[in-house]
C-alpha cells in the first residue's frame, strides 16, 4: 500500500507539474481522480470487501450466481 501510494503521489505530482495551463479546475478534477485511485488502492490492498464488485452488484439486484 505504501509503495502504491508513493507511486500515485509521484505520478500525480509529475502530471500536475506537466499541466500546460495550471487552471484550478484542472487541478481539482485531477485531485478527485487521485483520491479515487488512493481509495480503490486502499480497498484492494486492505481487502475490506466481503466479495467483489460483481457479487455486490449481483446481490444488489437479487440475481442468483
Amino acid at each position: 500500500m505504501l509503495i502504491f501510494s508513493l507511486s500515485i503521489v509521484i505520478l500525480s505530482i509529475t502530471e500536475i507539474y506537466l499541466f500546460k495551463n495550471k487552471s484550478i479546475k484542472d487541478i481539482v478534477v485531477f485531485s478527485v481522480f487521485f483520491l479515487v485511485a488512493i481509495l480503490l488502492g486502499f480497498i484492494y490492498f486492505s481487502n475490506p470487501l466481503n466479495g467483489s464488485i460483481s457479487t455486490i452488484i449481483l446481490n444488489l439486484f437479487n440475481i442468483k450466481h
Partner: protein, 362 residues
C-alpha cells in the same frame, strides 16, 4: 481516407468499431447465444442486424443537422446542459465499468489459455502502459494503427475459419422449428447489446468527418459484422454441437485447437490469442479515450492527456476488484452487462432522439 486536422474519417471510426467487437464476438457470443438458442444460435445475428439497422436510422437522424458536433453536444442541444451533464456522467461510469471488465477478461483469457499459473496483474499492467503510451498520440494514431491491424486480424480469422470448415457437421445446426423463435430473439439481444458499443465511438464524433454518411457506411459495416459474428457461431456449433458447446468456456479457441493440416501443422490457436490481444487493445484504447473525452466535455477541461495515467490506475484497480473468479465475471456479463449495454447503447439515445423530434431540434 486519411485523418485530416487531428480528425478521423467515418470509415476509420467504423473500422475501430468493427475491430473492437472482435474479442467479445469470438469469446462471449458463441457461448451465450448457445445457452439461449441452442442449435438455432446461428440465426441470432439476423435479429441483431434488424435492431442495429433500425438504430442506424436514429444515428442518421442525429447527424442530419449536426454533422460537425459530438453526440454530447447534440444531446445538449436537445435536452439542455444540466440533463446532458447527468447523462454524460452515467456514460462515463458505464464506459469505465466496461473498461475494467474488458481489462480483466483480457488478462483472465491469457492466463486460462496460454500462460497458466501466472499473475493476471502482469498482463493488466503491461497493456495499461501500452494504452497510456499510445493514447498520448491521440485517437487518430489509434485509428491509423487499427487500419493495419484489422487487415491482419481478418486474414487470421478467415484463414482459421476456412481451415476448420471440413470438420463441421451440418446436423449440428438442425432441427429448427417455430419454437426457436423466442430463444433466437433472446440470443439476438445478446449480440445487439454488444453492437450498442457503437455509441462509444460517436461520443467523440466531432473528431470524425463525413458523419452524414453514417447510415450508408454503417449498413455496410453491419453486414460485414453480421457475417463475422455468424462465422464465430457457426464454427464452434458445427464442430462441437450444442450440448458439448455449453460446457466449454472459450468455444472458438477450442475449435481452432482442432485444426490439423495433413497431421503436419497443428496447434495454431496462438493465432487466435494474437487476435484477442489486438482487438482487446483497440477496444480498451477506444474506451479509455471515449471515457476521458466524455469527462472532458462534462467539466470543460482543457485536455485529456494529463488524466490518462491516473485513469488507467483507477481502471486497473477496478478490474482487480471486479471479481475474485472468472465465473463471477461471466455471471456479471450475462445478467448485468447485457441489459446495461442495451440501456446505454440504445435506450438513452432513442429516448433523446424522440425528445429531439418532439422539440424539433433534430
Amino acid at each position: 481516407m486519411s485523418s485530416i486536422n487531428n480528425k478521423i474519417s467515418l470509415r476509420q471510426a467504423l473500422l475501430l468499431f468493427l475491430m473492437f467487437l472482435g474479442s467479445p464476438t469470438i469469446t462471449l457470443v458463441p457461448r451465450l447465444t448457445n445457452e439461449s438458442a441452442k442449435q438455432a444460435a446461428w440465426l441470432t445475428p439476423i435479429i441483431s442486424m434488424i435492431f442495429f439497422g433500425l438504430f442506424l436510422f436514429v444515428l442518421q437522424g442525429f447527424y442530419k443537422k449536426h454533422k460537425e458536433k459530438s453526440l454530447i453536444d447534440i444531446f445538449e442541444t436537445i435536452i439542455g446542459k444540466v440533463l446532458t451533464k447527468i447523462v454524460c456522467i452515467i456514460y462515463f461510469l458505464w464506459i469505465t465499468l466496461t473498461c475494467s471488465i474488458t481489462l480483466r477478461y483480457f488478462a483472465e483469457r491469457l492466463v486460462s489459455t496460454i500462460f497458466p499459473n501466472s499473475n493476471i496483474l502482469v498482463y493488466i499492467i503491461i497493456i495499461s502502459i501500452l494504452i497510456s503510451y499510445v493514447l498520448r498520440g491521440g485517437i487518430e494514431v489509434v485509428a491509423r494503427m487499427n487500419e493495419i491491424f484489422l487487415g491482419l486480424i481478418l486474414i487470421i480469422y478467415l484463414t482459421t475459419n476456412v481451415l476448420i470448415m471440413p470438420q463441421l457437421k451440418i446436423e449440428n445446426y438442425f432441427p429448427i422449428t417455430y419454437k426457436d423463435i423466442m430463444p433466437v430473439l433472446g440470443g439476438g439481444i445478446i449480440i445487439t447489446s454488444l453492437w450498442g458499443f457503437i455509441i462509444v465511438v460517436f461520443m467523440f464524433s466531432d473528431k470524425i468527418t463525413n458523419m452524414e454518411n453514417i447510415k450508408k457506411m454503417g449498413l455496410k459495416v453491419m453486414l460485414f459484422l453480421g457475417f463475422l459474428t455468424l462465422m464465430s457461431i457457426l464454427i464452434p456449433l458445427g464442430l462441437f454441437g450444442t450440448s458439448f458447446l455449453s460446457n466449454i468456456s472459450l468455444p472458438y479457441f477450442m475449435s481452432v485447437r482442432e485444426i490439423s493440416i495433413m497431421d503436419f501443422i497443428e496447434r495454431i490457436e496462438a493465432s487466435v490469442v494474437s487476435l484477442w490481444i489486438l482487438t482487446d487493445f483497440v477496444f480498451l484504447t477506444v474506451l479509455v479515450y471515449s471515457a476521458l473525452y466524455v469527462f472532458k466535455k462534462v467539466f470543460s477541461l482543457s485536455k485529456i492527456k494529463p488524466y490518462i495515467n491516473i485513469y488507467m490506475v483507477i481502471t486497473i484497480l477496478l478490474s482487480l476488484l471486479m471479481s475474485k473468479q472468472i465465473f463471477e465475471l461471466w455471471d456479471f456479463s450475462k445478467h448485468i452487462s447485457v441489459p446495461l449495454n442495451l440501456f446505454m447503447g440504445y435506450c438513452i439515445p432513442i429516448i433523446i432522439f424522440i425528445v429531439g423530434k418532439i422539440r424539433r431540434k433534430i
